[in-house]
Amino acid sequence: MNRDSMIPVVGVLTKVTRETGDVNTYRVEKPGGGKLFEHMPGQCAFLSVPGLGEAIFSITSSPTNQEFMEFSIKRTGRITDFLDEGMEPGQEIAVRGPFGNHFPVEDKLKGRDLLFIGGGIGMAPLRSVVNYLLDHRADYGNIDVVYGARSREDFVKYDELTEDWPNRPGVQVHLTIDRPQEGWTGHVGFVPAFLRDLAFTSDKTVCLCGPPIMIKLCLEALTDMGFRKDQVYTTLELRMKCGIGKCGRCNIGKKYVCKDGPVFTCDELDDMPDEY
Amino acid sequence: MQKIEDLMRAKAAAVLADGAADCVLAWKRGIFPYDHAPALFRRGDDLADLVYDVFCPANLAKYLLATSRAGERAAVFLKPCDTYGVNQLLKDHRVVRDRILAIGTPCGGMVDVKKLRGAGCGTILAVKDRGDVLTVTTAKGPVTVAKGEVLLRKCLACKGNAYQIADDEIGTPRGTPPAPADRYAEVRTLEGLSPDERFAFWRQELSKCIRCNTCRDVCPACTCEQCVFDHPGSGVDGKAYVDTSQEALFHIIRAFHVAGRCTGCGECGRVCPQGIRLDLLNHKFAKDIDAFFGPCQPGADADSPAPQSTFRFEDPEPEAVTRQDDRRDRHA
């Protein structure tokens, strides 16, 4: 990283896809086409709304995608509200990244059977990993994806989940929604209980991302099922301003989530003060 | 002084033991002769550290916000000037009366450590209070200083030794520092300047601000749940000044906001790490409110109508404040 660690580059928004009632996927390219910068699955980047500031988001698209980057973003505050209401294709946007570590697709995940567990917008960073693996299919074992949302309308990238991934060899997608819904024939119930029902063997490596309470309960379920905490990778989300471990916001114990994370194993989290 | 301290410890022990209070707000001995910190004592805490002498300037009234909110009944030791703050918090409906056990605590004036250093006490190792003088042990030997020379500025504007609210009292009231002939003498001096000179004075003072927020955080009249200057949606939030109008904005808005509620406790002037004369700004407002809408001494009681929110037919029009002649007439 060089001087540009604090200085964004200018990209152009080429497509905005409404995924759910409050989630959009923003596609960003170089003004002349192509990707703004390379990244790895799980890494993050800041998007700027001049006048309001920057916020950091995980990069949802796979590194193997050479045409563009995607960010799936939920409305939660001033910047994300503006992205939703004030941005349209053709608009230029400042992007700063990539920051942080990534899921260990180059070593620890290689050759393993993998279990992805996502809840709500938490699927965003996992999507980058899954698509990366699918583009390097031979290097990895079976892939199970368990994804829970409030309702059928709250799944992000529903088409990919139902029409793309399940048709790939060795990939199973297990969807669940919180409450029964007309026309829904799939599973109903929260993710942690669904996990127990699915009774996965504990030899898998797990990538887990979702709201804090879901992570906590899923981890309990996984432990009961025989998984060790060092088999489970998750990502943390904290307020960040610099992305390079200087500004102090994402400091937890001796770690800085922006550079030492956002990806941690759950046993690493156990060693950190409980402030995330 | 020893005696008051003993009485305070006994009182604190008694109210904690008999359940009259859940906690006691007092001052705790520091590592130097002068750095006593406000502290919350609870049942089981060692009261030997409870201290009271000329280095207890902090006004404990504001901590009642937290104890009152937590539903705790707090016994609080209050110097006469601190009692104004409690009344004002009550009048502003920021604390609950039943949750306060106000204990009047005599004060003969508090000492300014910076002035002590300035009076030839470079490295302060020990201080003995001998009434009118302090004997200070410094690295270079003993120094005797007249207490009147090193009192905090806020004590030079002392409002007297009467408690405005007290459920209980400790000891007997002390002789206070000589009442100032005119509490607003410095304000009058500023008023005598031309508008350009005044502007230059305040520009110079406020340009020193580093926006640490200490004046706000210590102020018993600043009790908003979230200050507008911290609120990301307010449009005026900020952590540093990007241009010179912003520092003036912060302090002037704050002065307007506490106008009519500022008791003149002088804590803002005491705590400013940059030495800005914020007390003068607030005193100017207090003086004008007293003159035009008064008589008004915020905190003198907990229930009289607040001048800023009570209309009277005889109230002057706002421009009266800017008319020098008008003002001079009233003070003639």
Partner: protein
């Protein structure tokens, strides 16, 4: 070592100004603080104050309270972006005490650690530090707790005020370059010339008797300070978990105002915010500015705050200095014993009180382990 009569201080300031912007301690309105020697009224050789300690650390010289990063220009859907130029102008910091050069070293660990902050690095590279040995100490001084020596400031050039003169010793290449560049503009004399005991080849680094005497006097007065024997308990950073869970935080934080005084006077506090300011239609300036972990907004997220209240924020500030930073930097505390927070805190809370309370609470944990074995 060189020597300069004090009556030439004005000439020295002017000569330094010829080498770069000069940042020096001036006394104004009864207090001393670093400020730019830029012709502003009241900042002249007469107001130069090499005796009193400054109320604030000189960290602005490397890490300004407000620093421009870039400017956005929006026009329709186009977005222009101009990065602020790197601050490469030469700067001389004059009269920096040992606790504050140590503060610079701690900021270096943060900002120069990979990936380096290039704005900071540009300022660091263009800064020459003229260190100043302490004369009068304050009772709040405790630099020796961290192995520092108040008589050895550790700048590029070290200065001593002794025997009515200023002694000047270049210690680094930067310091030697500056000394050479000043040349004849400053009427230095060779301090060795004035000493009698230069028989052994008149070594350039021989210590003149006046300097030696001043150094001994400072060491002797340090020994008499209330905090002279203060040691921070190394067990703290071997017991992060116990320190984090200690019950002391609740009672210590109860009377903290969570203002930013301690943060802003501190030589090592370095948290910052990045903010945008719309300065004209279509124009936004982005800058960074000092921030404090004591601030409620600091870790506020849309869905909540991982640090729920004042106690947690207070704990973060002190654990960062006493535990997290030493864990990450080989036992170096993020404190240099300058004592400013001891003097500035409006309610007399400070790092020494916190360290002592925490160490007392952890007393039951046991002696410092060799590694982290005891942390379970």
């Amino acid at each position: 070592m060189l020597k300069l009569e004090l009556r030439h201080l004005g000439a020295l300031l002017d000569a330094l100004a010829g080498q770069g912007k000069v940042y020096a301690p001036f006394r104004q309105g009864g207090r001393t603080d670093f400020a730019w020697y830029d012709g502003t009224a009241g900042r002249d050789a007469a107001a130069l104050d090499l005796e009193h300690h400054t109320a604030r650390a000189p960290k602005d010289v490397l890490f300004p309270q407000v620093e421009d990063l870039l400017r956005f220009r929006q026009q329709g859907k186009k977005l222009g972006l101009e990065a602020a130029p790197l601050p490469t102008e030469s700067v001389v910091a004059f009269g920096v005490r040992g606790c504050d050069t140590a503060g610079f070293a701690i900021l270096d660990k943060v900002f120069l650690q990979d990936p380096a902050d290039l704005y900071y690095r540009a300022r660091r590279d263009s800064l020459t530090v003229l260190g100043l040995a302490c004369g009068e100490l304050e009772e709040t001084c405790f630099c020796r707790t961290f192995g520092l020596d108040p008589a050895a400031p550790g700048g590029d050039v070290d200065l001593w005020l002794a025997g009515g003169a200023l002694y000047w010793q270049a210690r680094t290449d930067k310091g030697r370059r500056l000394t050479e560049a000043l040349g004849a503009a400053v009427p230095f004399t060779d301090a060795a010339d004035t000493t009698a005991d230069t028989a052994a080849g008149a070594a350039a680094d021989a210590v003149p008797p006046a300097v030696a005497a001043q150094r001994d006097a400072v060491h002797a007065s340090y020994d008499r300070l209330p905090l002279a024997e203060l040691r921070f308990d190394d067990r703290l950073y071997h017991h992060e978990r116990e320190a984090f869970r200690s019950p002391v935080w609740e009672s210590l934080a109860a009377t903290c105002l969570t203002c930013r005084t301690c943060t802003y006077v501190c030589p090592t506090c370095h948290c910052f915010d990045v903010r945008d300011e719309k300065t004209a239609p279509g124009t936004t300036e982005r800058y960074r500015c000092w921030d404090s972990c004591m601030d409620r907004d600091f870790t506020q997220m849309p869905h909540g705050n991982p640090r729920k209240g004042k106690t947690e924020r207070f704990r973060q500030r002190y654990l960062h200095k006493l535990v997290y930073f030493p864990e990450d930097h080989g036992g170096t505390y993020a404190c240099t014993g300058c004592g400013r927070c001891l003097q500035a805190c409006p309610v007399s809370l400070n790092i020494v009180k916190v360290e002592q309370a925490l160490a007392a609470d952890l007393g039951a944990v046991g002696a410092a382990p060799d590694g982290k074995g005891g942390a379970q």
